[in-house]
Amino acid sequence: MKLFASIGKGWLDGLWAFHDTLAVLGETVCEVLALPFRPRRFRLRDFLVAFQRASFDGLPICIGIGFLLGLILAFESAAALRTFGVETYVADLLAIGLFRELGPLVTAIILAGRSGSAFAAEIGTMKVDEELDALTTMGLPPVRFLVLPRTFAAVFAMPALTIFVELAGLVGGAIVLKMMDVPGAVYWGNVSNTTDVFMIVFSLVKAAFFGLLVGLVGCCAGMRTKSTADGVGVAATAAVVGGIVAVAVSDGIIAVICYFWGV
């Protein structure tokens, strides 16, 4: 009986989290629509601080993981393709894999782990310290003050980081193929033949959308923080898990849509 109760509670909590995220999304959209009319209301300094933390501070880890991703993918695929003597196709595989799928996905997972949790912890601590109440009683909507700058930061940071992950992955693949005596000119030629402007733009737009999801889920988790000893920790965990789930589900939906549209 206890098991069923906890399953039911888990589902209900999940539904409420989804409900709250939608509510914050709605408020965020309203604030974004109002921005052109009152641009000075945007907290530029908070945005720049959040952007710096999400992008520049996260660059080394993104480059490192992108590089290793390319290296591992190249090793694993080259071993199989070599038996057919077509290891040069590793370049095609890496370019398509990184630009269409893995670049935005892996970057979003890193962003959820680094910045989504940080957003939740920052806002959660503010909530526990009654700072959100202070904003509300001053007549300042917490969404404009806290969620908008951070979500914008995530949206702009994601494409920037994704490009670096993708380039680092390609460099990792190039090193592996160099070790397998595939000339660099052949590798980079194949990469450039496989990729086109649409693929890169698609990758960046997808990355920005994932940034929106990670930012919103992180901020919502922070705003739902409970004033208990483990409240902020629970919120940070919820931000990471929720962010990754949101990104994975939407990536699946995008993949299905792209398949039917023939993109």
């Binding site: 503010m126 310290d129 700072e131 001053m138 007549g139 300042l140």
Partner: protein, 236 residues
Amino acid sequence: MDAGYPGAVILKDVSFEVKRGEIFVLLGGSGCGKSTIMKHMIGLNPVLAGDLTVAGERWTAKNRAALCRKIGVMYQSGALFGSMTCLENVLLPLEEFSGLKRRAREEKARSLLADVELLDAAHKMPSEISGGMRKRVAIARAMALDPEVVFLDEPSAGLDPITSSSLDDLVLRLRSERNMTFIVVSHELPSIFKIADRCAMFDKARRAMIALGTPDGLRNSPGDEFVRRFFNRGEK
């Protein structure tokens, strides 16, 4: 009005009126609902039943923005924004709502910090100052828009007696200089006797407001055993 949260009534049939320029204290034991009452009064939670009028206007979702300009709140922890200096904390409501030019805003913020004797700490971060100083900065921020009513949540909590007493002096001075109304949540008897013009007392067990009057009047009141014990620090 009834106070509490949806599905959990904490206090029933609470009714009192605070006069302009008065220092009115909401008091009672821990968990009796005095902070909950304050949350209703500052518009954080809607009342469960009944009416609530602050600064002459009834709290509704529609006039919330206007009412927020008429009140100032100092929270128990101070609730200063940790990423801003003390001066920036006081400047924030002025930037958003005052319509003053930059120089005038800064002058006003500095004068508010001078009023709470913290001009020296203007460029310090909240983490660099003491709890008592944080509460003073929070009072300066609460007064930034010249509100009609200032709410103070447990101003003495966590402070040593000397700091607590100086905070009481500050409240008395601000009231006499600005003729503001102060509504204070507290259960610190020395502070209550020093600053309160009148107080309302709440009891958790009865889920009701059990007394209303001046601190001296309540202490000497023979009527209610709980009130008498509260004012005599637990002695029967």
